[in-house]
Every structure is written in C-alpha cells, then in structure tokens.
C-alpha cells in the first residue's frame, strides 16, 4: 500500500510542483506593470483595458480581439478604451460606445438577449438532450438487472436427494 502511494504521490508531485512553483512567483495579474517610459499617466490599470479590449473584435483582423491584435487600429482602439475608462466610463459604457459606432458585430460574444440568446442556449440544450439520450440508453441496456447475481433457483428436495445419492455412488466406484 505504501509503495503504491509513494509512487503515485511522486508522480503527482512531479506534475504539480512545477506548476506550483511558477504560481508562487507569478505576480497578481491585476497589478499594473511599471514602465520607466513615457506611457501616458493614467489611473487605469492594464488589466482593466485588457478586459474590455478582450471582448471587442479587432475590425481589421479576422477573429482576434482588440486586446490581442498587434495591428495599429487595435492599438488606437485600446488607447480610446483607456481614455474612456480614465474619464469615468464603466466598461459597459465603453462597449456600448463601440457598438453604437460599429454595430453588434464588434462584440466578440453576442449579447445574451433577444435572438442572440440562442447561441448561448442551444449548445447547452443540445448537451442536455445528449445526456438525456445517454440516460435513456443506459436504462434500456440495464433493463435486465441483476442477471449475474440473481439467486440460484431453490432446489427441489427430491432432486437434492437424487444428486447426493448419485454423488456417493460415484465415490464408491
């Protein structure tokens, strides 16, 4: 028991520790990194800009977010986000501004209202339907339960005597 435990523990530790070690050194992602450079002085953290930018679609790229895109347009949009957040707008208001200018498609995930609610609901419904189907299937397959450990049918006493007689006959031969 102990050897198996030790081996398992060693393997688990070997996987968990590197991850853990990197965790220990990683900074809180919310902290604003410092730059001894001429970045605009602002009270808005990079993480806040990143969060809004990650939900907007870069208009000159194909599927990238404004946060990820290396393009100049995305850079300018990030600056606009930063300025708006710094002037007191909430993330929702900043997103609403972009939707106002570009239309709904600038949001990388459709709003959970109206027709676009479908895209959130349908996959979930499909999953539930699949699980229900599996449950049905499993029930059908196990409709003959306990075949393996059904108790053996009780033995007729006459049959029992006959078996014992023949067994003892075998023994004497």
């Amino acid at each position: 028991m102990s050897r198996r435990a030790a081996a398992a523990l060693a393997l688990a530790a070997s996987l968990a520790l590197p991850a853990g070690a990197s965790l220990a050194r990683s900074p809180d992602p919310g902290a604003a990194p410092s730059a001894a450079a001429r970045a605009p002085a602002s009270t808005v953290s990079e993480a806040a800009v990143h969060e809004v930018a990650a939900e907007l679609r870069c208009v000159v790229c194909q599927a990238l977010s404004v946060a990820d895109s290396p393009s100049e347009t995305a850079h300018q949009m990030r600056e606009i986000i930063r300025d708006r957040l710094a002037s007191g707008e909430t993330p929702e208001q900043v997103k609403a501004y972009f939707v106002d200018k570009y239309g709904l498609w600038i949001l990388l995930a459709p709003p959970r209202r109206g027709f676009t609610l479908l895209v959130w609901v349908v996959p979930f419904a499909a999953l539930l339907a699949g699980l229900a189907l599996v449950a049905l299937l499993l029930r059908r397959w196990s409709r003959r339960p306990g075949v393996a450990d059904a108790a053996p049918p009780p033995l007729d006493p006459e049959m029992r005597q006959r078996i014992e007689r023949e067994l003892s006959d075998l023994g004497t031969r």
Partner: protein, 176 residues
C-alpha cells in the same frame, strides 16, 4: 409510420446545407453602418498645412467625407482621380469634399496628395479617434452627409464618378 422516422436522419442535414448555401449570397465584409440616418459625429482636426478643419463649419452644404491612406493599394489610388473630378464639378454647387488620412505619415500622405493634385482639405487623424467615431474598419470609406449634418449613406471601397453622382445629387436637391 415508424419506418418513416428513420428518414429524418438524412433530412436533418438539409437545413444546414440550405443555410450554408444562403451564405453565398452574403459578403462577410459588407457591414451596414449604424450611423446612417443619424447626425454625423463632429470633428476638429488640422490639415497637413496646419489649417483647421471642422465638420461644423460646413453645415448647410452637402459633405462628402472620404477616409484614405497612402498605403492603401489599389483602391485609394483607383478612386483618387474620381474624387478629384468630383471636387472640380461640385465645389461650386454647395458640396464640400473632405479627406481624412488615417494611420499614415506626413511625407507619404503629401506625396499622395501631390500625385493626384487634390486641392480639397485633407487632415490626418493621428490617434484614430475620428475614424473610430465613424465606425471605419478599412480604407477607403466614404460618407455622404446632408445639409442638416446627418449621415445619409456610406460607401465601402473605391468610389467612382457614378457612385458620387448617385449619392450627391439627391442630397443637393434637398433644401437644407
């Protein structure tokens, strides 16, 4: 009856195929502008020569607002002569043509303007605020603004003489 249910399986593929076929009729790059029918966002820029360029000063005229860049091959180069011609024919008829230069550098921009001999005002949009304000997602894009300052149409891609004419004439006929 039960025998027929099984044919639902191949039939289930049909709606998907129809939807995909419908996709051929669409263009993924053709995105309608939410600005049409609304007041045009104002801007206050400075031309390459330093003169101020504000939308508000041209209220009462039909404004053709063109976004361009010197690196935009080949479309901006294709439409530039048409814009020059449009300026010549409409500038005395109450139409203002304004160019906004995005994500560009002064020297290539000036070279572009000199090459086509553009005399209408052109201003760079250094931080991209105006282009985002107009929901611009590529170049060239042209907006048609009426005398009351409302956006009445947007054209994505190079404009031609015909397009300018078809868009501007109706707006000219309207009284301010």
């Amino acid at each position: 009856m039960k025998r027929l249910w099984r044919w639902l399986i191949p039939l289930a593929a049909v709606p998907v195929l129809v939807l995909l076929a419908y996709g051929f009729r669409l263009s993924p790059r053709d995105i309608p502008s939410p600005l049409v029918g609304r007041p045009a966002p104002g801007f206050a820029l400075a031309t390459l020569e330093g003169a101020p360029l504000e939308l508000a000063t041209h209220r009462g005229k039909v404004v053709v607002l063109n976004f361009w860049a010197s690196w935009c091959y080949p479309a901006c180069y294709e439409e530039a002569p048409a814009l020059a011609r449009a300026w010549e024919s409409y500038k005395d008829r109450g139409v203002m043509l304004v160019g906004i230069n995005i994500q560009d550098k002064p020297d290539p921009a000036r070279t572009f303007l000199t090459r086509f001999g553009h005399t209408f005002p052109n201003a760079p949009d250094p931080a991209g605020r105006v282009s985002v304000d107009y929901g611009v997602y590529g170049v060239p894009e042209t907006f048609f603004i009426d005398r009351a300052g409302r956006v009445r149409g947007k054209h994505v891609g190079a404009v031609t003489d015909a397009i300018v004419r078809d868009r501007v004439e109706p707006l000219l006929r309207e009284r301010g």
